[in-house]
């Protein structure tokens, strides 16, 4: 700890300490040398890169973003054609990354919690199975798992003409999964609006219930009411707007299915691979979090006369969350970063689109820079949110 040495050093300067023995001078010299090294390395790279780019006559800058991309993208959340610009192609890629990451995080949390709790189950068979799952999945590279699932889709599922039809209107084949979807109608917009209203009113209800409990001590049955609101309001809106039941069913036209809702094999393989892999790590985190709460806590709560569901929601979970949240954040980030492996199985995520762009334009520096900056931003946003949440839930000590 140099600063700790600073103090004696600072007072002894009068006793003619040699320049090198003075920690304060040494600190300045060390830092200057470090900075000099870092900057000169940066300058060396910059000069070389400039010379190389000039020699290979590669233009620099982000001007290429406005040029026509000229390649198609298999799946896009918003309208896209090969005539659109590189910027729009990259945006499609980013949206695809966000899509697979957000759906993946949701399923990972669900599966991870289920497996983590199963691991602690008193049922020997269940806990052994969960342990085996965790060990196997954690110890195999995620890229290999993605290849495996992708191969399964291609080798095991039949061609569109021989699709598996487990339910009427639902088709599985090696081009993807096809589901019927409700045909477009204004009622669905109303139902979506009602869903938002339900979410907001549940938040308000929760605050009111907590205030009332603090004031009067009376418990409000929040969860049953919230669930009824969450399901009931959209249903009511749908019913009042005319209760449409027409469905858009996928149909075999030529070589492929049209209509309905479909999932590509690339998206499915990526989602399944990422969710299965990450949920094993989440399960271990959940288990560690629950085990970190001493048994005495739940015994004390029960001796106060709390019911077991209240013990869980008021005593155990809030404390376990403190242990769980920081590592959980990094697992969410890992899932997002691992979604970049999509490039290996042909799902058009950001990295895949950027890779195509680099190959077509030769703008390697800009392409890699875009990838890095976007992932950095995603990481920073996620960890900022989780840090805020973590701080809100953290233990307040003296």
């Amino acid at each position: 700890m140099p600063a700790a040495q600073d103090r004696p050093g600072g007072t002894e300067t009068s006793q003619a300490v040699p320049f090198w023995r003075n920690p304060r001078n040494r600190a300045v010299v060390f830092q200057a040398v470090t900075l000099l090294l870092v900057f000169s390395a940066g300058y060396y790279i910059f000069v070389n890169t400039q010379a190389n780019l000039q020699r290979q006559s590669i233009s620099t800058g982000f001007g290429f973003l406005n040029r026509e991309a000229g390649f198609g993208i298999g799946e896009a959340l918003i309208r896209y054609s090969a005539a659109d610009s590189y910027a729009r192609a990259l945006l499609i890629g980013l949206l695809n990354t966000v899509k697979v990451a957000s759906i993946g995080i949701l399923f990972t949390l669900l599966l991870g919690v289920v497996i983590g709790v199963s691991r602690l189950s008193r049922n020997w068979l269940l806990s052994r199975l969960a342990a085996a799952y965790i060990e196997v999945v954690q110890n195999i590279p995620v890229l290999l798992q993605l290849f495996f699932w992708y191969a399964i889709f291609h080798d095991v599922l039949p061609s569109p003409r021989e699709s598996i039809q487990p339910l009427p209107g639902v088709f599985f084949n090696n081009r993807g999964f096809y589901f019927p979807m409700p045909a477009g109608h204004a009622a669905y917009a109303w139902a979506a609006a009602a869903l938002c209203v339900a979410v907001v009113s549940n938040g308000l209800l929760r605050r009111w219930a907590r205030r009332r409990q603090e004031r009067t001590g009376q418990l409000f049955p929040f969860w049953p009411v919230a669930v009824i609101l969450q399901i009931g309001l959209p249903l009511l809106a749908w019913y009042l707007a005319g209760a449409p039941t027409a469905m858009n069913v996928p149909e075999l036209k030529g070589f492929n299915f049209l209509g309905g809702f479909s999932l590509s094999p690339e998206f499915s393989a990526l989602l399944i691979g990422l969710v299965l892999y990450t949920s094993a790590f989440v399960a271990e985190i959940v288990r560690a979090g629950i085990q970190a709460i001493p048994r005495g806590q739940s015994e004390a709560a029960m001796s106060l006369g709390l019911k077991s569901n209240l013990v869980l929601s008021l005593i155990i979970l809030p404390q376990a969350m403190r242990v769980i949240i920081p590592p959980l954040t990094s697992q969410m980030l890992n899932l997002t970063k691992n979604s970049s492996l999509a490039v290996a199985i042909g799902y058009p995520d950001l990295v895949s689109v950027a890779n195509t762009t680099i190959n077509q334009t030769g703008q390697a520096i800009e392409g890699v820079l875009i990838i890095m900056v976007v992932y950095l931003m995603l990481s920073l946003i996620t960890s900022a949110y989780m840090n805020w949440y973590n701080k809100k839930k953290a233990l307040v000590e003296r």
Binding site: Q5, Q31, L125, N139, L144, F148, S340, V351, I358
Partner: protein, 362 residues
């Protein structure tokens, strides 16, 4: 007393529930509540539905040493895809009649790992042994001396490339990571800033963006005429990436050392390098051995990502095998085989880490 013994309540008490033997174990672990009983029966039913057909596919109806023609006729697994292509999957394009050299190098590596398992053998001699072993392995792989024809690194592949990338990746990343961790804990603002920026930057981006950087940007960074081999570039990216993660693990260890240790070192008159080298780091690094092993495991798994920039590691050689039209349908079997190889490596490492945790009482 007698009155109490004679009381009807006591007479009616049942004998305690058997808690020993097979029946007792079953009752305690599988059928202790109605819900658990239902769960147990449901799981048993699922296992009954899946396990026998899996065994049928993998072992009973399977072919092990046939050609691709016979596989297409069979119902079960075609392990022949592995056995017929084993040498390519394991060694890639390494010259066929020289493949005993990587095989010997891998055997030496495994031998060294087994020898170093015992913590009592952890001393300076072991360090020299490892250094000598790595040198011999390098000579075996590369050749060039008398009697050993040279094999260019472009021809290295398969499991030896996977092991090489992860082993050298970790040995080089470790000291760099320790330096970064010390830098991050330093009170010199400039050094601290450089380290924090480096660690956070690297940890915020996916490894494959680093690998892309290595494969497409590194050549631009160097002066004209100097080219670095593709494997070396990927190795550099892996080292830079792993170092950031090691730095965070070591930082955890440094934070766990009580202030008193620093103060004690200071009162002995030790300067900063001596304090770190003799007092702080030995304790901090010992604390973080288990998480370091997890980093080793993930570095080992992550080397598979070099597939994306076209290096012929274990995963890529498998894919090349599967791109042969004869074997194209048997990808599940081939992937299961290398999954088993990876599992074996990672599982033994994580078991070792658990054993160390107990042994060193951290």
């Amino acid at each position: 007393m007698t009155a109490r013994i004679a009381s009807p309540d006591v007479e009616d008490l049942k004998p305690p529930v058997r808690s020993t033997g097979i029946l007792g174990w079953l009752r305690a672990n599988l059928f202790n509540t109605p819900l658990n009983s239902i769960l147990t029966l449901f799981i048993l039913f699922c296992l009954y539905k899946t396990i026998p057909s899996m065994v049928q596919w993998a072992f009973v109806d399977s072919l092990w040493l046939s050609d691709a023609e016979a596989c297409r006729e069979a119902d079960g697994a075609c392990w022949s895809v592995v056995s017929q292509n084993l040498r390519f999957i394991l060694f890639g394009f390494y010259p066929y009649d020289l493949q005993w050299r990587p095989a010997l190098a891998i055997a030496m590596l495994i031998g060294l790992f087994f020898y170093s398992r015992n913590t009592r053998r952890w001393n300076r001699r072991l360090l020299y042994l490892w250094a000598a072993g790595l040198l011999v392995m390098g000579i075996l792989m590369h050749g060039g001396g008398p009697g050993l024809p040279e094999v260019e690194t472009d021809q290295w592949g398969g499991i030896s490339l996977t092991l090489l990338l992860s082993l050298f990746g970790l040995t080089a990343a470790y000291p760099l990571g320790v330096l970064l961790a010390l830098g991050r804990r330093s009170e010199l603002p400039a050094i601290k800033a450089v380290c924090v920026v480096y660690i956070e930057l690297i940890r915020g981006v996916p490894l494959i963006s680093m690998l892309f950087m290595a494969s497409v940007m590194f050549p631009l960074f160097l002066p004209e005429g100097i080219t670095i081999n593709k494997i070396l570039r990927a190795q550099a990216a892996i080292i830079l990436f792993t170092a950031a993660y090691i730095a965070e693990v070591v930082r955890g260890g440094l934070q766990a050392i009580p202030r008193g240790q620093y103060e004690a070192a200071e009162s002995l008159g030790l300067d900063y390098p001596k304090t770190m080298r003799l007092i702080i780091l030995p304790q901090a690094l010992k604390i973080v051995i288990p998480p370091t092993v997890s980093i080793l495991i993930s570095a080992f798994k992550d080397t598979s990502l070099v597939v994306i920039i076209g290096l012929f590691d274990l995963l890529k050689t498998t894919q090349v095998t599967l791109s042969n039209p004869a074997w194209i349908r048997f990808s599940a079997e081939a992937y299961l085989f290398i999954a088993a190889l990876y599992f074996l490596g990672c599982f033994s490492m994580s078991n070792f880490s658990r054993y160390l945790e107990k042994e060193l009482k951290t």
